[in-house]
Symmetry: C2
Subunit: 312 residues, 2 copies
């Protein structure tokens, strides 16, 4: 085996992303040793049992000590406090990164705790599923997906290059941009989509004239797609919205403005406007498939023809 | 082989649903002869080539003549005119049904053209993919999905029972309800979800500070799910919104009201409200999976780990 990129990688948090990173690192032989930390004893035990880490620690500081790569894989809102605990224990020359869906807030919250000589380079792999926890990870999660790095001004270029090479070795494409722009782009490609998915599930649950049973039975008409996204980790998503408020509110304003125009087109039977808009939307789907960011298989490749008996 | 349910079934329209019905009928041996009609010569040729029909006709009237089952598989807005042409040619005792996503408008538009002695029973199989055309159909499309029948007042019970048995033999569960209630239920489980999917794709395309390329590259964060629904047939969906205006506007009003409340919770950092709502949404997903209406596999069972090179 060639020399691994890192001697000792510490995963702080062992949920979907942390566990997938362990799988991807082991697939690629990217770290000689992988250690970890998780808040709950149950997660720590599972991570050991699955071989995600060779040692597991009850505190982030213990896990991060002596590591040359430390990856924060926790909800965005938890990063600041953890960095505060770890800071004094980080080794000079180490790379500290994270995987959070918001980057401005992470820079703001983590930055002050990073000692001189430690390279802090926030990151965001744009990949996931609706499942959570240490058993939900898999090595292929990052394959073909984009990882965005948002190094702060004056970041060490060698460290940025090394982290770029690391994510490529995990299967990702890498793009570097500033944190503010990341937060704006992700507000429209991820945060607002999740918000409207949560919202329609909520609306559907509180109708007087349509029962919850009906909503579930007839969900194959489109609604069920939204429930997948709305089944994502609630703490992670609460933290995203609390920490990317401005960009989310801006994009939500645009969404609502456009929806009002569409509502008006329906009210007045403006057939041409509806048709034109629906045709244009198809081209975006084609672009995503051509860019390798989704499957061309119908219905996401969902399995048909092996139905369970309906519960109702 | 046992006696088929129908001697001669006529499929008026040979797109995704019409072609899938042909596959399902042949799988189950449900009709001795299947004939069809499509507006375009190309579709007619394809249908013959694929063996979807044994004879194909350039007009609905020719196809429907002598059939004991006639299924309208065309966009809702086209049903009225086609029924007008077919009416005089329908055979006494035949069952006339459709597959449209709106039922009130079909009753209103088709009803007057149905001769005495023909059993008109509107239907809606809640199944589909984002693909269109005669080559997109497959026999398993209806397996485990619900089909709603909305017989008008005074409909012949034997005909309703026969159509129920037909859809069960196509793999579906069947529920009977009145057309108005169907339209309200589908407004929330299908029509509004499609509308907001179309809308967010449209919003994303017209931003000044985020490029189309960025939207596509970083779509795996959630946005790409919406583009699948927004890639559905534009004519079909234009007709849905034009023909289920009242129910769509009612449900859209509820959606917008709830979204405004959620926006306010984000603005004021109301962490508890966000968390509570996100936790509750998970339970709806569980209900859908338990009812056999979606896969429990992460990410809809999307394939990971066989990425294409990105186009950008």
């Amino acid at each position: 085996m060639s020399t691994p990129m890192f001697e000792r990688a510490a995963l702080i948090g062992l949920g979907l992303i942390g566990s997938s990173l362990s799988h991807a690192m082991r697939r690629g032989g990217l770290a000689r040793t992988i250690v970890g930390n998780a808040q709950s004893e149950k997660t720590r035990d599972t991570a050991l049992r699955l071989g995600l880490v060779s040692s597991v620690y009850a505190t982030p500081a213990e896990a991060a000590r002596d590591a040359d790569l430390v990856v924060l894989c926790v909800p965005v809102g938890a990063c600041g406090a953890i960095a505060g605990q770890m800071g004094p224990h980080l080794r000079a020359g180490a790379i500290l990164t994270d995987v959070g869906s918001v980057k401005g807030a992470v820079l703001r919250d983590v930055g002050p705790s990073v000692p001189k000589g430690v390279h802090f380079i926030p990151g965001h792999p744009i990949a996931g599923t609706e499942h959570s926890g240490p058993e939900s990870g898999f090595a292929e999660l990052f394959d073909g997906r984009w990882c965005v790095l948002t190094p702060p001004q004056g970041a060490d270029q060698a460290a940025v290059d090394k982290l770029t090479a690391f994510w490529r070795a995990c299967g990702s494409h890498v793009e570097v941009m500033d944190a503010q722009h990341h937060d704006l782009v992700l507000a429209i490609t991820s945060h607002v989509p999740h918000l409207i998915a949560y919202n329609i599930v909520n609306t559907a649950r509180h109708l007087e004239r349509v029962t919850d049973t009906e909503v579930i039975k007839f969900s194959a008409g489109g609604f069920r797609d939204f429930t997948r996204i709305a089944a994502s980790d609630p703490v992670m998503w609460r933290d995203v919205f609390l920490n990317n408020k401005d960009a989310v509110l801006e994009m939500l304003g645009r969404f609502s403005e456009d929806l009002t125009a569409l509502q008006r087109a329906i009210r007045f039977g403006d057939s041409d406007t509806l048709y034109k808009l629906f045709v244009e939307a198809r081209s975006v789907r084609r672009g995503i498939i051509e860019a390798g960011q989704d499957t061309a298989a119908p219905d996401f490749g969902r399995q048909h023809g092996t139905p369970k008996q309906p519960g109702t």
